[in-house]
């Protein structure tokens, strides 16, 4: 999707989470890095319209995140910082089925869609399990499956490998690499975004750098050092 930020700003009262930002994004893989509290999550939530800009506007393929909020949400998927919060039903299979069901799929077509996506992320054996019985990596994959099954055009990830061990990081990274969709990935795990064509560095609510992965990481290291 073609994402346009037009002087979009996000404030909470006096506190500025994101200063007015103007930029355009259309790369298939976009990384977002920066210190804690630098505005990364705020940026991502503005993209899919979970929060409305205090001023300015954000559009995706011409759809305004405020005026066309429903269409924007339908075209995007969001994997939250804590995936446990987005898994709603106690059985993984039931949870994955919720999205397509709300879109009118039922019966055999629904079962097939759910099975196909579980096979794809190699979590078929988790179908009858409950979220609290899963490891962090399995939770991420289940959350991702629940999003992918609704076929969004753009998926946003908020620190998908946070708290994962090396093995699970590799698992989640492979899942992200394999997506045909456009992805915006927020991460403190710099390896995850180092190969991306475009990486944004946020600092104190402002875009501090915008360029390719290697340069962005070098720049982030500089800002973090001082």
């Amino acid at each position: 999707m073609h994402i346009i930020f037009d002087k979009a700003e996000l404030r909470f009262g006096e506190r500025v989470a994101l200063h007015p930002l103007s930029l355009q994004l259309s790369e298939p893989r976009i990384g977002v890095i920066g210190l804690n509290g630098s505005g990364k999550t705020s940026f991502a939530r503005l993209v899919n319209g979970l929060v409305k800009p205090t001023s300015g506007r954000v559009t995706l393929d011409g759809m305004d995140t405020v005026a066309d909020a429903k269409a924007v949400l339908a075209a995007t998927g969001f994997i939250f910082q804590n995936p446990a919060n987005q898994i709603i039903l106690p059985l993984i299979r039931d949870d994955i089925a919720m999205g397509p069901k709300a879109r009118g799929l039922k019966g055999k077509a629904l079962d097939e869609a759910v099975e196909a996506v579980m096979d794809r992320f190699a979590i078929a054996e988790l179908a009858e399990r409950r979220p609290h019985e899963l490891s962090g990596g399995q939770l991420q994959l289940a959350a991702l499956a629940a999003v992918v099954v609704t076929e969004p055009k753009l998926i946003l990830f908020d620190e998908p490998t946070n708290q994962l061990d090396l093995k699970n990081r590799a698992l989640v990274r492979r899942a992200i690499d394999g997506l045909e969709q456009q992805a915006i990935v927020i991460s403190h795990d710099l390896d995850l975004v180092s190969g991306f064509g475009r990486v944004l560095v946020f600092h104190e609510g402002r875009l501090a750098f915008d360029g390719d992965g290697a340069e962005a990481i070098a720049r982030y290291r500089e800002t973090a050092a001082c």
């Binding site: 919060n85 709603i88 039903l89 709300a102």
Partner: protein
């Protein structure tokens, strides 16, 4: 950790349709209010308690999940002995217990997804009248079932946090954090529902 009241199994209640279970619960519940004979009520209690205990929960877990309700029923039973009569206290307590075990059996043998589907279907007439969106009603019902046990879990976590720091449990130190964490969680769930487009299109 308990995040769902459902227990897996293949008992006859598991296989029964949700509609039949809900209808049965309603009819038997109402019927028990017409019965005032303690012997008959005692028999009803025996039947529903046996049903509940044979679902495969294990006796300990079976009682643990009902403990708050059992305490409440016992409390009102005692109050009734004083304000009404021992006889009335006995019949109302037996009746409530019988219904409790029956209701617990229904929730333990029905997945939340099935509850949501059934409630949604039952609400369709109201949607036709333009009163509400059936899918929203079903979802709301499912969310209550899903997250009530979570509140109990959060209470346990707070209790542990108190113990770890050598603090005694006081309502004023536990209520605030409990309410705030519940509201915050409600917020993030609402957000996830929006982001995932679960509320129909």
């Amino acid at each position: 950790m308990l995040t769902s009241l459902y227990v897996e199994g293949t008992s006859f209640l598991h296989r029964m349709s949700v509609r039949a279970k809900l209808a049965g619960l309603m009819i038997i519940g109402l019927a028990l209010f017409l019965v005032a004979n303690p012997v008959a009520l005692g028999f009803a209690l025996l039947v529903t308690a046996t049903l509940y205990l044979r679902l495969g929960l294990g006796v300990g877990e079976a009682f643990r999940r009902l403990r708050p309700v059992l305490i409440t029923i016992a409390f009102f039973g005692l109050v009734n002995v004083v304000v009404l009569s021992p006889h009335e206290a006995l019949t109302s307590t037996l009746r409530l217990l019988a219904i409790l075990f029956l209701a617990a059996s229904v929730t333990a043998t029905t997945t939340i997804a099935d509850f949501i589907d059934t409630i949604t279907a039952l609400l369709v007439p109201l949607e036709r009248l333009g009163l509400m969106k059936a899918a929203d009603g079903g979802l709301a019902f499912g969310l209550v079932l899903r997250f009530v046990p979570d509140i109990a879990l959060r209470y346990a976590v707070l209790k542990e946090a108190h113990a770890a720091r050598g603090l005694t449990l006081k309502p004023q130190t536990i209520l605030g954090p409990l309410i705030i964490s519940t509201l915050k969680e409600a917020d993030s769930i609402a957000e996830a529902i929006d982001a995932r487009g679960i509320r129909g299109q």
